[in-house]
């Protein structure tokens, strides 16, 4: 009786310790840790469709925006936590490939894919899924209120009437933002691209951290023109937002969502199964429900609320150039625009 308080104290501490460890010990099923930047609302659908064919593999998602997931993967380079990457920007994958982080693997059915959609090495290190594009989301109600004309081209966005009416993602944190900047540099040339951005910068109300946010800000009327992830804009339009999705005439930047196996994973077979499935026809049709362009040859159908001219306007994107010049472009961008911390004078 006398010792009971102490005893219960000790027992309590033990239980706490044990329960902490019980909480963190992984379950014994075949768990694949999959890093991804796929939109959050699609994760469950993707995993469920995959499990229809492979119920034995449980997908454990680690989802974050492109920049964050890339940072995480690079940070964990020497102590990888991921088994597979499923759905991350190809430019990010190229960075990691150059760090020797992938296990090269030629998945079954690779011949069905457009060669643009996989690594050109004999045994590819990554394979693509679909292309995602950046477009302009334009709020028609706010546009009318502010007497704006809907832009038709990228260059239109530099007109003085859009002063403080444009929002775009910060390329230093957003994959869409980097895609915009790298596509402008490819479209208008290095010099022309920066000149364009200098002018655009004057009209930018603010740079956001994520690529979806400009579309949402445009949808909410906070800022009428959002340079954004087109997929998000289409979803918002479907949800009733007064948005018009504009594909600028000069062409639009795009990046590929792609997948790879992390070198050193101890679940190689399951990882291969997932990669095989990720380029199957069934998977590609699933991607096609939201993405207009997919890697599988000849199956893509138009997507609702997506302008049909999307495919013809894709620029010829040099991923290798974009990946290898990424650091330099981002540093230059930061030097030019990120120091704008003083409140803007109109």
């Amino acid at each position: 009786m006398r010792q009971s308080v102490l005893k219960s104290f000790v027992v309590g501490v033990c239980i706490t310790t044990i329960s902490i460890f019980a909480v963190v010990t992984p379950a014994l099923a075949v768990d694949l840790t999959v890093y991804t930047a796929i939109e959050a609302e699609d994760l469950q659908k993707y995993a469920a469709t995959f499990n229809e064919d492979h119920p034995d593999i449980h997908v454990k998602w680690v989802r974050d925006s492109t920049g964050i997931i890339t940072a995480k993967l690079l940070a964990e380079k020497n102590n990888p936590q991921a088994d597979v990457i499923w759905g991350l920007a190809a430019t990010s994958l190229l960075l990691m490939k150059a760090e020797g982080m992938f296990y090269p693997y030629k998945p079954k059915g690779l011949e069905n894919l457009d060669p643009k959609f996989y690594d050109s090495d004999p045994v590819p290190s990554w394979v693509g899924m679909d292309a995602w594009v950046a477009a302009i989301a334009y709020n028609t109600i706010e546009g009318k209120k502010n007497n704006l004309v809907a832009p038709k081209t990228w260059k239109d966005l530099t007109k003085p009437m859009y002063r403080n009416q444009v929002v775009m993602p910060n390329p230093n944190s957003s994959g869409t933002g980097f895609l915009d900047v790298s596509s402008w540099l490819q479209l208008f040339g290095e010099k022309g691209g920066w000149e364009f951005m200098d002018l655009l910068h004057k009209n930018i109300a603010r740079y956001t951290h994520s690529g979806s946010k400009p579309a949402k800000l445009a949808a909410a009327g906070e800022i009428p023109v959002g340079v954004s992830f087109a997929f998000r804009a289409a979803k918002l339009k479907a949800a009733g937002a007064p948005l018009e999705i504009i594909i600028p005439e000069e062409g639009i930047g795009w990046d590929m969502e792609a997948s790879a196996i992390i070198a050193g994973t101890d679940k190689l077979e399951a990882a291969k199964t997932l990669i095989d499935w990720s380029i199957s026809k069934k998977a590609m049709e699933m991607y096609n429900s939201a993405y207009a362009v997919v890697g599988y040859k000849g199956i893509a159908k138009p997507v609702k609320f997506f302008p049909p001219e999307t495919i013809s306007k894709l620029i010829k994107n040099d991923f290798e150039w974009a990946a290898n010049n990424r650091k330099r472009i981002l540093a230059e961008w930061q030097k030019r625009y990120d120091s704008k911390s003083e409140p803007k004078k109109n």
Binding site: I20, V23, V24, G67, R206, S212, P214, A220, N324
Partner: protein, 661 residues
């Protein structure tokens, strides 16, 4: 006569046992605090640079291979790179062709290349090549060769930091915002505390409760409310007269909101201990009320005001959620860390900014400690507590001022709740629960919410045990002075470490395969460890204060009765200190629910947290769901507070009856 032998108190078995316990907890603090900080500091000195002597080329223009030349030799004649171009980050890249100004990929020229650093590599297109052998390339292939930097140790990162205006300006911004907020918050809180202590206005109890609300919500929630109030589609946008809420204005208003209760607690305590005799003296000397205020009230509350200022300053300069949500393009240090690490994967630069952020935080902290040491007890046994007398006009002023502050606090909260229930602001104002469907959004869904509660409970449980045991040992042990001083220092240190810095240093320390503790990376354990450590100091001080109230004679009596210390601890000390112990656990719970900065780098898919989800949803533009989740945190904390109140009441009746006569 030989000198008398010096009598040393013998360390008893108990003391040795207690010292053992103390060392265990001190070790915890070393592993959870000192080592990670050291890891971060050393990371900030890890530089990457292109060592041009390590790259060698040979050119064959069709007439045989020329001599081996290093990039260094080429640069000496051609000057294509300036010294500052050579400093880069671990991710730095340099095209080999820049050393060959006449390079054309159509030429027939062949190139041979090797790099000599055994720890570095180079890139052929997208492939990493790690060997140190010669490779031969055609011009077409050679244009895809990219050099990678070598790692070394030096001040390079700091030099880069201070020569990048965008980064450097953040220091100025952070200081400006923090000082301005400190001035505003402390004045407002002083007014509020003054009204509570010196007037006879009604509803004091309600005001006290309302003023504490901001403690229960994440610091970024006021930011979200401000967006709905003063954003471009805001309800009260006109009140800003065209000024932009995204920027310094928004940060300051939001920061005043979330630091207000912290300042209020300290200032109220300072005002409460004033001595009525001084006021009587002032009246009998016919001093005006104005004069009395400046010669009696303010000096009396001086230390409280200074202390409150430092606390507010520290909270603002280390806060990260608020400027992220409403800062717009106005950069602050804590956000810079996030941007460097998350946006650019530049961990070294993130570490540098962390070190920079440590400086003001550390300074404010040590100044505060210094000032507190100077404080002399104002409350003597002869003091007479001040009793405010009714004064209609003054009471009315106080009531309206407090009401105004109350409207500000409750108003922001109501705006958040309203926003969370609106379908699509501002085009569809129907009420709906759609924003609570967290599972289809970023941030981890409802599981994040469950995880947060789990983290809160675990932190409260583990933290209270660790903190209280540590405080008990350090307070009651005899001898072992060095150990005690060291322990006190470690226990005070977390107060000065911004959460962001702590989180980042945990990545460096725990996500290192060489560290035997690395398995806890990505689990709930690391979140608990980080949160307990982050909020260690205040809990420790609470425990110490409670323990100091207990006479050391208890120990003397117990040992003379030959009772071991743990029996005394279990039978007397813990029951007596129960209110303080419960206070510590509720403090830890509430903070674990609301903290963002410390855990932002450490959560994993299985351990996504509600507070982080608020930020991630806001980030993705899902502002209404972010507000919804923020309010869930608020309600949970209110519930926890109520349970705490209920339990404390019950326990007080059972264990604290002796306090009454």
């Amino acid at each position: 006569m030989p000198p008398a032998p010096i009598i040393r108190p013998k360390t008893s078995k108990d003391d040795k046992l207690m010292a053992g316990f103390m060392i265990v907890i001190a070790l915890y603090l070393v592993v959870a605090l000192a080592f990670p900080l050291y890891a971060m500091l050393s990371k900030s000195f890890k530089t990457a640079s292109f060592d041009l002597k390590k790259y060698e080329f040979q050119v064959n223009k069709g007439d045989g291979w020329g001599p081996v030349v290093s990039a260094f030799e080429i640069n000496q004649t051609l000057h294509v790179l300036k010294p500052e171009d050579l400093v880069t980050s671990a991710d730095g890249r340099l095209y080999a062709t820049i050393f060959f100004p006449d390079f054309s990929f159509r030429s027939k020229t062949k190139y041979r290349f090797r790099q000599l650093d055994p720890n570095s590599s180079f890139i052929d297109g997208t492939r990493q090549i790690t060997d140190n052998d010669w490779h031969t390339y055609t011009a077409k292939e050679f244009r895809r060769i990219i050099l990678r930097p070598s790692q070394s140790i030096g001040l390079g990162n700091y030099i880069t930091y201070f020569s990048t205006p965008a980064l450097f300006r953040s220091i100025k911004n952070s200081l400006f915002i923090s000082i301005l907020t400190t001035l505003i918050t402390v004045s407002l809180a002083f007014g509020f505390a003054y009204a509570l202590n010196r007037s006879t206005m009604r509803f004091k109890g309600i005001f006290r409760i309302i003023a504490m609300i901001p403690i229960l919500i994440p610091s970024l929630l006021p930011g979200i409310a401000l967006v709905y109030l003063f954003g471009n589609q805001g309800m009260l946008k006109g009140l800003l007269f065209g000024a932009d809420i995204y920027g310094p204005i928004g940060i300051v208003v939001g920061a005043v909101f979330f630091t207000f209760p912290h300042a209020l607690i300290i200032i109220t305590t300072a005002l409460a201990i004033s001595d009525a005799r001084l006021y009587e003296a002032a009246i009998s000397l016919r001093a005006s009320a104005w004069r009395t205020f400046w010669t009696v009230t303010i000096p009396g509350a001086r230390y409280g005001l200074i202390s409150a200022s430092f606390v507010v300053f520290n909270l603002v300069i280390t806060d990260f959620g608020l400027p992220k949500v409403i800062g717009g393009q106005y950069n602050m240090l804590a956000v810079d860390i996030y941007k460097q690490v998350i946006g650019q994967q530049n961990f070294e630069m993130g570490a540098v900014v962390s070190v920079v952020l440590l400086v003001p935080a550390m300074m404010a902290f040590s100044l505060d400690r210094y000032v507190q040491k100077k404080q002399i007890a104002q409350l003597s046994s002869r003091s007479v507590p001040y009793e405010p007398k009714p004064n209609r006009r003054f009471d009315a002023i106080c009531l309206s001022y407090c009401s105004l502050m109350g409207v500000f606090i409750v108003g922001l909260l109501l705006v958040c709740q309203y926003a969370a229930l609106i379908k699509l602001w501002p085009y569809n104002l129907h009420l709906s629960l759609a924003n609570y469907n967290f599972d289809v959004m970023d941030g981890g869904g409802w599981r994040a919410y469950i995880n947060s509660i789990r983290l809160g409970l675990l932190t409260a449980l583990v933290g209270t045990v660790v903190v209280f045991s540590g405080a008990y040992m350090v307070e009651k042990i005899n001898g072992f002075r060095v150990l005690r001083t060291g322990f006190q220092f470690l226990a005070m240190l977390p107060m000065a470490i911004p959460g962001m810095v702590l989180g980042l240093s945990y990545i460096f320390f725990f996500n290192n395969p060489a560290n035997p503790l690395s398995p806890i990376y990505g689990t709930m354990v690391i979140l608990v460890v980080c949160t307990v450590t982050h909020f260690y100091t205040v809990s420790h001080l609470t425990a110490i204060t409670a323990l100091k109230q207990m006479d050391r004679e208890f120990e003397a009596v117990a040992s003379s009765l030959k009772q071991p210390f743990y029996k005394l601890l279990a039978k007397v000390t813990v029951p007596v200190c129960m209110p303080a112990i419960l206070d510590i656990s509720i403090y830890l719970f509430v903070n674990a629910m609301t903290t963002v900065s410390a855990v932002i780098f450490l959560y994993s898919p299985d351990t996504a947290l509600a507070s982080v989800a608020v930020m991630n949803m806001d980030d993705a533009g899902d502002i209404a769901p972010a507000a919804a989740m923020g309010m869930m945190i608020f309600y949970t904390n209110v519930a926890a507070r109520l349970i705490h109140l209920f339990v404390t009441r019950g326990l007080t009746k059972r264990t604290q009856a002796w306090r009454k006569r």
